[in-house]
Subunit: 647 residues, 2 copies
């Protein structure tokens, strides 16, 4: 059968034979869904069966094919309600994206790629989902990729109805309209049931009006009619006046009489007796024993193809050196490095450079970039949840993507979005400013004193907190040239250029940033101070106070506090005293990272004293707050002195 | 002037003399705002000046007075755009809630309560805000308090227009409509400007349609007309058919010609020359020198009154003891303890008991409570951000408030909401289930392996992870009877009752739960294992394997991993070997907590081996996943054995 005519939903209607083909696939897929879930003894059959006509129509007729599933011109299909994995696997498996038998036999089995919630490692799956409400934002990220690469692919986002309750979706809606992302079509599986019952009882919502109020066009169709689904996709794909949402009226558990409209089948598999009955109703062969044998006696042999990663080609340029007479903040150094790269690369020749902002461009210093590359600057408003996901998704497409924000918004507010970015192996460059007590007058709600404590939980996120403008410049260029998720963090205030004892910039000129390497900033033998970021210059001040009192200690800078330089710690331990000094929560900061290394590596004996933030800060000038919190340089000097007296 | 007639906005219109009074206050308040911000050299004058007529009308005529600001019958006024603190302080100060001179002189000065964003420690301020989009949710919490205590007070929530972009507000809107919280009135300061410029350019939004689409009634008024504001508040307060939003069309910087509609004054103070000009325009005396002297020469002498905390009066009942032949999960033990308390206290005689759910009642075992106390069970749908804040706010009013959810939603997704709950010194009992790798088949997006790593950053949150149904029962009753934020966490699976070597339940009968105390579960002298939660029974299994090989080690349970029992660690270190064992991220779990104590307390020498999760888990049965991740009991036994060989 020649499907070319229908690919991309360009023909206004479907031929009867194609419709029949899809319907046949759907009937078989319903059986697959039931096989998978009954075999695994868990999973979500109900929504899989209500979404299946949408899945099958999309995966068959969108411009993505099993023989070339990673083609950069392909349409992107995002399934936001990732718990409908049985439906997704049935559709993709039957259409040849991977062997259906493997998906059925090894669904939810340890070691198999056919996980309980869909994962991006499978061909056909564009985004790992499971925590609801994030799919439309990811879709926006992919839609922006089409714009950045000047391609005309479309993005289809299938969502549940219950998840429409998540506020993040309203953020994504507004973003899509602002940026005219008419290449996005959302589809809502409106089966009216969520885990706890009817959505009109659990949380009443007018989904159509919600979408209309944000400027979307709304179509309502019978979600089990392939013709209606196709017709709506045709209209949505060909009308470029607005993004469309297709509200597909469906029946949970559709196709098996006793499952229909039963909310318990949202997340419950059929027991075997009912499974037998269901297969009979569907007129399908019961192959449970066959698959059970496969599952019990074998392991999943299907290995997904490696997803090709578009190479990042960016000239990161010549680092700037800020001389000691310059007094600037690390934020500005970031902004300068960013705009340097934008200029050298003409906003990205082969690798587009994109920057996301949440109404703080002036403060996070992305304004210059926004003037240089207005078409690559995405002002997302006060919508951090959406922005974190959209930026994460875009970053996976080969666009060098920065998201710059205050720490409390870019990390604390969006931790879970970054957790899923990390699971998706994104390539995000998160720049967080206004970290620590240094944010000062804005007070405790704005003091991000937990960035290390939070990001340390994400296996794939690396963190750099540079000490001065020179190190910031080099760290920013470093992450631009490396794959993976990075957070580069900094405070708000101006900081002096860190120099060696002769007054030469320590991180300027030929200095190369190396993660995991501590820099010995000052030498001594009576003890060692470890610090980083905007506290390092205060540590140097304490060193000077101590020197004037005849006490020489080492001062180390560790710009990657989560990647501890074990050799440096051993060396420092040789002095018998280590003091860590930071404006981070003392429980979860550098001090804790060093403690972990000392205890697990068996380093010592060494006395470890952790100085850090022990309570929520107040509102005032940073130096006053440091004074109040016992974190002034004089206090650090005093602490070292006291410790040496005691020893 | 007798304001009784107008209190609570019961009269349909204002007398001219009252209007004049408010207008006069507003003129003076504008001067206060400018004094504060110019003196501090920072702050947000623009929005303060556009909101001031609303603030003054509300604080003068709502049913809350400076002489009795904590009366339980008072109307609650929540200011969601907390950066308009100068406006709030000017209004409250002029109306006598605290000395205006102190507020002006010490605005944003370290040690003063007049912080950059409003804090709940001040009379008149009901909720500390600053991170946008949370105020309406807090307002819903207060509105529920009126219902729980059968009081008829109203809640007024003033919000910015930029913050309407936050998705959480849409969640709060739906919740308010579902629960008929017509005692809430929202007011939006629609000055059309946010930090980066005009909201129609930064992020276009139809605020009125957004509210209407969720079932709110919308009024639009001139936000600088006291008559119009009052009229709208009268209509909103007296019409009980729906919650109202009053969209107040205002002018940023209103009252000073050269500040009006200038978005830079969102967050910038006037320099002194322009300040002089502004005061002249307003016809007010320039007292900057006076206040500067106060600020520079003195300290803030105003000490806010202690906010009375309503006593929690709950009979926590007799603990249940689950015998060793019972096989149940900790979730059910939580549900039983909760419903026990609901029954004994008749859903709360003096202290109402409330439970919030996000569409997971069946899984988190709050269904029995929902049947016992349907009027105290708040089904919030898939709206976790809103729910975390609403529950947090309600918990401050003297209602014993539980929020039960999966860990990934109740902690990871809502970390920042809990951060602000903590800053607000809430009294929330957060119950998180499905923690750890134990969640199994749902896969990595659902595996909350970072709950300790996250909550450890919150100074006021205490964490308990009970080992079995008996300890769960006692932990739940313990937190019900204690003030403060607690998280009680547990996995999904059934766990055996932990017994002593004679087979008697270790945490049953007379056992009293004591935070910070490790329980010695098994004894030995060759090494020590520390574990907790659903891993403890696996640690005991490893102990049995080792015993059978002739190796005796200690096994400790530490149900409060963030409150380490230092004496127990010292005792354990005496064996020379400590192994921590958990299904939590190994970087941030119990192992890390112990490492911290060992290094900072100088305990040892002792070899510390941390076993935990080192990568995102897969999807499969928990025991299979533990096997894959090297966390099976056999692997723990092997690790101990290897370590002993090496020593």
């Amino acid at each position: 059968m020649n499907l070319t005519l229908y690919r991309g939903f360009r023909s206004p209607s479907l031929d009867a034979s194609v419709r029949k083909l899809i319907e046949d696939y759907c009937r078989v897929a319903r059986g697959d869904i039931l096989h998978m879930t009954t075999l695994a003894g868990s999973g979500h059959p109900g929504g899989s069966m209500s979404s299946i006509e949408m899945f099958m129509t999309l995966f068959l007729l969108a411009r993505v094919t099993p023989d070339d599933p990673f083609n950069e011109e392909r349409d992107r299909i995002v399934v936001s309600h990732g718990h409908t994995s049985p439906g997704v696997y049935a559709a993709l498996g039957r259409l040849g994206f991977f062997p259906i038998d493997q998906a059925i036999a090894f669904f939810r089995k340890a070691g198999s790629p056919f996980e309980g919630h869909i994962e991006r490692n499978l061909p056909g799956v564009e985004w790992s989902t499971g925590n609801l409400g994030q799919g439309l934002s990811a879709g926006c990220g992919f839609a922006l990729a089409a714009r950045c690469f000047e391609r005309d692919f479309n993005v289809y986002v299938v969502m549940g109805d219950g998840e429409q309750q998540k506020g993040q979706i309203s953020e994504a809606r507004r973003f899509a309209v602002k940026y005219g992302l008419t290449n996005i079509t959302a589809l809502v599986d409106y089966n009216r049931l969520q885990i706890s019952g009817n959505i009109s009882e659990v949380m009443p919502q007018n989904i159509a009006e919600n979408f209309r109020s944000d400027g979307w066009k709304v179509l309502e169709v019978n979600g089990h009619s392939v013709d209606e689904i196709y017709g709506a996709l045709h209209q949505a794909t060909t009308d470029d006046s607005a993004p469309y949402v297709v509200i597909a009226h469906t029946t949970m558990g559709k196709g098996v009489s006793f499952m229909e409209n039963e909310y318990e089948y949202h997340g419950k598999a059929l027991p075997e007796d009912l499974f037998v009955k269901a297969l009979e109703e569907l007129g399908l062969e019961n192959k449970l024993d066959h698959y059970r044998q496969m599952r019990e006696k074998g392991v999943c042999t299907y290995v997904p193809p490696k997803r090709p990663e578009r190479e990042i080609k960016i000239d990161t340029g010549e680092p700037r050196t800020y001389e000691p007479d310059v007094k600037t903040d690390n934020r500005s150094a970031f902004g300068n490095a960013l705009s340097d790269m934008a200029e050298i690369n003409a906003c990205g020749r082969e690798t587009p450079i994109a920057v996301f902002d949440c109404d703080l461009a002036g403060s996070v210093k992305t304004e210059k970039f926004s003037r240089l590359c207005p078409h690559r600057f995405f002002e997302s408003g006060i919508q951090e949840h959406h922005t974190a996901v959209a930026a994460g998704a875009l970053s996976t497409t080969g666009v060098l993507t920065f998201f710059a924000d205050f720490g409390v918004f870019g990390i604390c507010e969006t931790y879970n979005q970054h957790r899923l970015n990390d699971i998706n192996e994104a390539n995000l460059k998160l720049i967080c400013t206004h970290l620590g007590i240094d944010v000062g007058e804005d007070g405790k709600t704005h003091q991000c004193i937990d960035y290390l404590g939070l990001l340390r939980n994400l296996f794939g996120f690396r963190v750099i907190i540079p000490a001065d403008p020179n190190q910031t410049d080099r760290a920013v260029r470093f992450v631009a040239g490396r794959r993976g998720n990075f957070m580069v963090g900094m405070g708000r205030s101006k900081v002096p250029v860190i120099t060696d004892e002769e007054g030469k910039p320590l991180f300027g000129g030929d200095y190369t940033f190396t993660p995991g390497k501590a820099d010995l900033v000052r030498d001594g033998d009576r003890g060692a101070i470890f610090s980083y970021g905007g506290m390092l210059h205060r540590a140097v001040k304490a060193w000077e106070i101590l020197r004037d009192r005849g006490i020489r200690v080492k001062v180390y800078n560790l710009a990657t506090p989560l990647e501890v330089d074990v050799d440096a710690v051993r060396e420092a331990a040789g002095t018998g005293l280590i003091v860590t000094y930071e404006d981070h929560n003392v429980r979860t900061g550098l001090g804790n990272c060093l403690a972990d290394v000392i205890a697990t590596e068996g380093i010592g004996p060494v006395r470890l004293i952790k100085m850090g933030v022990t309570e929520y800060g107040g509102s005032g000038k940073p130096d006053e707050l440091f004074q109040d919190l016992g974190l002034a340089p004089e206090e650090l000097a005093r602490t070292v002195e006291e410790a040496l007296k005691g020893s």
